[in-house]
């Protein structure tokens, strides 16, 4: 488990409601946002498919395949509906 990192996950909208939290900091062995989402989805029953989501890392849009670093903030972005 020496490869575990600490990431902060912020939740919005339907994911915030399903998680019951606005944010959490957790230790994870996941290397990228894709794996992290699947881990969280299994744990909390998220039903939004990955392809409907975008991801932001440290306040910028990112890639699901990018390598996460210790201390990163990750946000999974459900389909937007402004306006």
């Amino acid at each position: 488990m020496s490869s575990e990192i600490s990431v902060k996950v912020e939740y919005f909208a339907v994911l915030r409601e399903q998680r019951g939290l606005s944010s959490e900091t957790r230790l994870t062995g996941c290397e990228n946002p894709r794996d992290l989402y699947h881990e969280l989805a299994r744990e909390h029953g998220f039903r939004l498919p990955l392809r409907d989501l975008k991801v932001a890392v440290n306040g910028e849009f990112g890639q699901f395949s990018q390598t996460l670093s210790d201390g990163d903030t990750v946000v999974f972005i459900p389909p937007v509906a402004g306006g």
Partner: protein, 158 residues
Amino acid sequence: MISVAGRSFRLSGEPIDPPELKRLLVQKDAGGFVSFEGWVRGNNEGREVESLEYEGYRELAEKEGGTIIAEALRNFAIIGAECTHRVGHLRIGDLAVWVGVTAEHRQDSFAACQFIIDQVKLRVPIWKKEHYIDGNSGWIGIGNVSDRPVSETAEGGR
């Protein structure tokens, strides 16, 4: 270019004040001003809406909104552009989003204003939850995903 001075895209927890936003755009070479206002409608796809919540991921929303305004200033012959999106609890008829654009000539203001609202709806991380008169509620744009496991195929968000 007026909008360089301040932030040209904002999320607001308070009611939007169009005349105040318009004042940010006034200057003597501007001949055409176009604004778009999105108002909360009393129904959506046949369901009667009582009120709704807008939620935004502020940090990224203001960044992405600012990028959209910058793109508009670069791609259209306009003088200034401002956009404010409301967050929080809104009732029917409330103003959800305001876009204002000035240009020397009106065609440019129309095109840029439409570009901005189209892109904001497409790209800015803001979410809408509708509360219906029948007591139900739902997040817009995610289909009926709360009933489906994550592994199933779902239609993409709009």
